[in-house]
């Protein structure tokens, strides 16, 4: 196996994710690009688990990294699964991140009626008016639409 192939794939995926985060306006698409970046890191971790640098170069690992193994074959046989364990951790963190991120995006949509990230003004705070009549009592006759309609301020 040539470890350079999955490594280059991971690097390119990460670059695509960075490009997407910087380029996209839609917040959901930004979240998708973040997923691409996280996945590139996962791929990097799994590949590094299967092919650490010392093993790939066919020489024993330098002392501070792994003091014990003496030959490349021994290193490959005794590989711990640290990379894969961390991949699982990263997957869990990505799931938590996307949950909270989407909650924030939906709330932003309810508040402003748009999820374009460059329409979000961080320096000015628009008063939190929201869809007034929509969340009032259902008996209110003037309700113009569903509760998710954004505030057209």
């Amino acid at each position: 196996m040539r470890p350079v192939i999955p490594y280059v794939v991971a690097a390119l995926l990460f670059g695509l994710g960075v490009y997407g985060v910087l380029r996209r306006r839609n917040a959901v698409l930004v979240l998708m690009s973040v997923e691409l970046m996280l996945n590139a890191v996962n791929l990097l971790l799994v590949t590094a688990n299967a092919a650490p640098l010392a093993t790939a170069l066919g020489r024993p690992a330098p002392a501070p990294v792994a003091p014990e193994p003496s030959s490349a074959a021994e290193t490959a046989a005794a590989l711990p699964y640290t990379g894969q364990a961390f991949t699982l951790f990263v997957i869990v963190i990505a799931a938590a991140e996307v949950g909270v991120g989407l909650a924030i995006v939906l709330q932003l949509y309810r508040l402003r009626g748009t999820i374009a990230v460059d329409d979000v003004r961080l320096d000015t705070h628009t008063p939190d008016r929201g869809p007034q009549a929509t969340v009032a009592s259902p008996a209110s006759p003037a309700a113009p639409g569903p509760a998710t309609r954004g505030a057209e301020t």
């Binding site: 196996m1 490009y19 998708m32 951790f89 989407l102 995006v105």
Partner: protein, 167 residues
């Protein structure tokens, strides 16, 4: 070039191609579907790299849960159906930074690994991975469960507050 190399090259091409479509397509829903293809191809690479459990977890959580969540968000925010022109902001900086990051990392890794070969380790079992997690990484595991709980509570707390409601 062994079979594993050919498989990884093909799957990597699929992953990178679908990823490029995710960040360039003008259809919002299609971006989510291309993301499925890209993540699935990465799961295939995991399988080739003998990380079976990670591959299945990737399929279950990413393709099964995260992408469905993203597609729900696309629907709930009334995304435009069909091609939309306002999804991108004009950006040479994005091309510059993204391309620079990707190509720079690629050059770094190619320089480190050259064209060397490694023996693939024997196929991983869930038992070994479980031993690793519950042996060396118990504390991060527990912290992650607290993180998941707080993310759940936080997502609910953010969502229940409807703007404009009088309290």
């Amino acid at each position: 070039m062994t079979t594993a190399d050919v498989l990884m090259l093909a799957l990597g091409a699929v992953a990178v191609g679908a990823g490029a479509l995710v960040v360039t397509t003008r259809h919002l829903v299609r971006a989510g579907l291309y993301l499925v293809v890209s993540l699935g191809a990465v799961a295939g690479i995991f399988l080739v790299l003998t990380a079976e459990l990670v591959a299945w977890v990737q399929l279950l959580i990413y393709v099964g849960a995260v992408v469905v969540l993203l597609l729900f968000a696309v629907m709930l925010t009334r995304a435009p159906i069909g091609a939309a022109d306002d999804l991108d902001r004009p950006g040479w900086p994005a091309t510059l930074v993204g391309g620079g990051t990707g190509l720079g990392l690629a050059v770094l890794l190619v320089d480190a690994y050259r064209w060397s070969t490694v023996e693939l380790p024997e196929p991983g079992t869930a038992e070994r991975l479980g031993t690793e997690i519950f042996g060396s990484w118990v504390l991060p595991f527990e912290v992650l469960s607290v993180l998941l709980l707080s993310a759940l509570v936080g997502a609910i707390a953010v969502s229940v507050r409807i703007p404009g409601r009088r309290r």
